[in-house]
Point group: C2
Chain length 317, copies 2
Amino acid sequence: MQTGRVGRSVRVGLDIGGTKTDAVAVTEGGEIIARSRRMSGYGDEAVVADVVESVQELCAELGISVSDVTSVGVGIPGLVDTVSGRVLHAVNLGVESLDLAGRSSALLGTPVIVENDVKAAALGAAALRGDAVSMAYLNLGTGVAAGIVIDGVIWRGSRGTAGEVGHISVDPNGRVCSCGQRGCIETLCGGGALARAWGRPGALPVRDIFDAADQGDSEALRLRADLARGAAAAVRVLVLSVDIETVVIGGGLTSLGDRLGDSIRSALIADATDSPFLRSLHLDERIELLPPGSPAAALGAALVGVHAPQEEIATHG
Amino acid sequence: MQTGRVGRSVRVGLDIGGTKTDAVAVTEGGEIIARSRRMSGYGDEAVVADVVESVQELCAELGISVSDVTSVGVGIPGLVDTVSGRVLHAVNLGVESLDLAGRSSALLGTPVIVENDVKAAALGAAALRGDAVSMAYLNLGTGVAAGIVIDGVIWRGSRGTAGEVGHISVDPNGRVCSCGQRGCIETLCGGGALARAWGRPGALPVRDIFDAADQGDSEALRLRADLARGAAAAVRVLVLSVDIETVVIGGGLTSLGDRLGDSIRSALIADATDSPFLRSLHLDERIELLPPGSPAAALGAALVGVHAPQEEIATHG
């Protein structure tokens, strides 16, 4: 019955994170009909296995054959050559250089398209919003980067640095960034930079910062304010350069929920107090937080396959 | 003979600046076949007259009738409603609210399209470069703003703030900007902000700053460095958000020529010293200065007419 319902038109999308891998099966109409989650493996073989086994698992759940899957899209952190499907420097996954598209496609017999995880999530977030208005997906995770979607299509730019707002400096006297500059937006609102600046033990340093700030800890108050002003700066950069309509905020830090959203909104409002120009932009009304457990990233990866040019799919298949 | 050569396919473009108005006649193929310059008038009537008389002058020079002009495009500083052709708050021209398209179109009997001057100049600079690669035109004048051209089309964004990089803050302890924020890029490299910070008499304050810096004046050295780091920040913002390939720098400050270009290139190189990431972007090789007297802005205004939708032209005609 499942087979009859989904027919031969299922696309699979995977979001391979440093910790978890999220996979969805999607109809041609974009409806999610199955979902599976697993812990992410470490190293080339384990990452390829994550792709292959996730697809097999979803097919088993749907009662269809892997050959019924039209395309598999994979969102993965690191540098991605979307044409060759090769992944470079995915440090958290123990991958230095891996032909992920070629290897998993050969094992599955299905075209596999690989995409940077933030760009894939941006596409998924745009699809979940269900409108064609321009938007940016601002990922607040260990690092900070944005994906831009215009008229339903990922904005790629000229050399692959579109949306790299995390490495725009907004304070010449700020902390030194892992990129070598000083005062980058990522030094203010990146989870990794905040954990280093906090420097106390704990599995969830940014949550610890918020909790300690609630208790009046001065260092925590300072870092919580940094987070909010960094994210607010990223929103302003995106609106005053690309001029996207909406900024959807995702990434690990959104597990803080309203505590995060409220602090960013407050920073946007406070920063605009003395500027009629900024106030006229209503930036605090133009941000949204992705809800916890949102399938945006995996959904976006599935949709990457829809937009990939046919010859690109053929190369991988 | 002229009439025979240009036929009925001439477009006129005007760049109405605070001081001068530059006008060009362009063939359908984009070739400039006539050019005229005049001092800009002040106030509604004078600005309308600038448009009408510039068109008449070019037609007389070419030996054609005004009715042979397919469209007139006008680039003008201030807020422009490109659909209605109305100009708002063009302070330097003494214009508060003017139906420039409607009034000049009625007098000429030709469709008139009005565009923000920076966006028009961006289109012209892209046409002069003669390639389809994405680029930004960074205007360093009294104020600072960029126009973005992708695949030969002006990037408009969602609410009209695309390219407003002048009002991105890059220093929380910087000077207060006319927009009310602190440390905006415009406070560092806008001609108006530099003149106010310099505060000494003189008709060409930015040139005076460069000359005094050459003589070792410490305040001038500081302001010259500010100019370079502000422009460098604007270039980085454009590449790390929109990811354009090239930044063409124009505006009044480019009358400084190589002195300006060299100082911006030096700042881009110095800022990248400690950042392998920034060095990999080769930003110093991706900027160009518009040569003095370039017709980019007027040419771009002529081309605005080519891309304007037909119904929009009809409304104005």
